[in-house]
């Protein structure tokens, strides 16, 4: 299953990157969201998948899923969320000020 999930995460990376390479700001932001989803899936996969119970200790159960990747993902999800929110507002403001949401039109001059 880990192999398959690695592939899924890889596809998420690919899709995220494809979006990252788009012109439109919205698509780019969407790309970053997909990319972080891919990263989180990778983290989860790198612990072992589907072994034991959810890592909440219970009497009589000794086999649990690896809690560390979950903790790392939680941290990462929250951070990604902060980033995405900032990025969104930033894109909104950038598009508003420059009157375009096409990144290819936001190149600028070398010397200015």
């Amino acid at each position: 299953m880990e192999i398959i999930m690695s592939v899924v995460a890889g596809v998420l990376f690919a899709a995220g990157i494809y979006n990252l390479l788009q012109k439109q700001l919205l698509r780019i932001v969407i790309g970053t969201v997909i990319l972080s989803n891919g990263a989180h899936l990778f983290i989860l996969t790198m612990g072992k998948l589907k072994r034991g119970a959810p890592p909440v200790l219970e009497y009589g159960i000794s086999d649990y899923a690896d809690p560390l990747p979950q903790a790392l993902i939680l941290t990462s999800i929250v951070i990604s969320f902060g980033l995405t929110s900032l990025l969104l507002v930033l894109s909104y403001r950038a598009a508003q000020e420059n009157n375009t949401d096409n990144m290819e039109k936001l190149r600028g001059n070398h010397d200015e």
Partner: protein, 494 residues
Amino acid sequence: MMSNLAVLPIIIPLVSGILLAFFHTKTPFVRHAAKLLSVISTGVAAYVFYYVVQNGTVTLETGGWEAPYGIVLVADLLAVTLVLTTNVIGLACVFYAPYSLTEQKERYYFYTFFFLLITGVSGAFLTGDLFNLFVFFEVLLMASYALITLGGEKVQLRESIKYVLVNLFSSIVFVTTVAFLYSVLGTVNMAQMAERVQEVEQQGILTTIGILLFFVFATKAALFPLYYWLPKPYTVPNPVVSAMFAALLTKVGVYSIIRMFTLVFIHDTTVTHELFIWIAGFTLVFGAIGALSTNNIKLVIAYNIIPAVGFMVMGIGIYNKTALSGSVYYMISDMIIKAALFLLAGAVAHIVGTSDLRKMKGLIHQLPLLGWLLFISAFVLAGVPPFSGFIGKLMIMQGGFADGEIAIVIIGLLSSLLILYSIMKIFVRGFWGEKDENIVIDRKTATALTWPVAFLVFLTVLLGIGAEIFYPVIDNISNQLMNPEIYIDSVFKE
């Protein structure tokens, strides 16, 4: 040595940043408080530095959870040296800021972001845990996003979005790489990683992950061919922000490369470190070319960040004690001089009202001190003795020659010339010549903006002429870097 000292350089700026957020509308108060807090922070950093020099590496197992399970902070000599340098630069910037920023920007949490940036940077230097390093990267990056967008001008928004996106991408790859490493080594503690890497038989996958991680840091460090995002965005925020970025952000990348590739990934240096040398070579050339390509003085300085990083990575790639000493020395020197140069270029642009070199002339008549500081800086950058740049480059290149890396050293020498030319162009075209009567100088601002620059430039001169004073520290650092077991033992002692 276990001590809470290790966490102070992180906590003090964190608390400072939060405190200042409460008073953000009381600008005059915040200004002075920021100065005071910065002095305190620098003082503490200096004390921690002194303590580590005297007593050796200080570690702290946060929350009392023993390494490698909890997060351990490792204040080794390299880390505390860089933390101290960071604070010193912060000090110069905080005194410069009120004269350069609009009150609006100060009101909108500039000082909070400023201190949190220092928090993130210090944390990145001090942490001994790879995932925690990621978190601190995010802290400093988020603070940098906040700072680079502060003001919300058209160009600023346009460029900062590129900055944010590229860094965001590399952050995502970073966290993924941490996961890969966790899978292979079963840990996120750097010391334990180092231990375990030594025991691994099949190393190809480790090398691969290592290279991936290297690229993450290389993107932050602005190495060839990943530096595209750097130059332009660095020219758009306020100079004090650019100065902080130039001095700190790329260097955190370099630091991380040094840390990971002297501690953990030293199992296959013929692949990894040889690659660094190649990359360093291209970085030197393209960075220097970039610096010559423009008439925007801020952009010239921004491009100059790149070859400097090339030098540092060259030292890492050569990977012997001399070269590593050089890299570390050069890094410290470059942090200071880059901050100085950005503050300087910012001061000029602020006073003259443009950063276009073609619109300046004869500034030496009005801004003599700034002119001469620029002049000295050019030689610091180019690595001309007796300034600090020379000492670092000398050791790097000696190390290179000693290991038979002839071509890279020659490239290094040539790029030094181009770097000198790029800065001298500013001096000759902007400062020399007939006095421009159209430029009206506000003496008070000009003086206030000049002193922090003078302070930093003075430091680089001191670092050069007084190299013997600092050398034992650097020697000790490179000794620790070449012997990872020292680091490992300090984490898992007794």
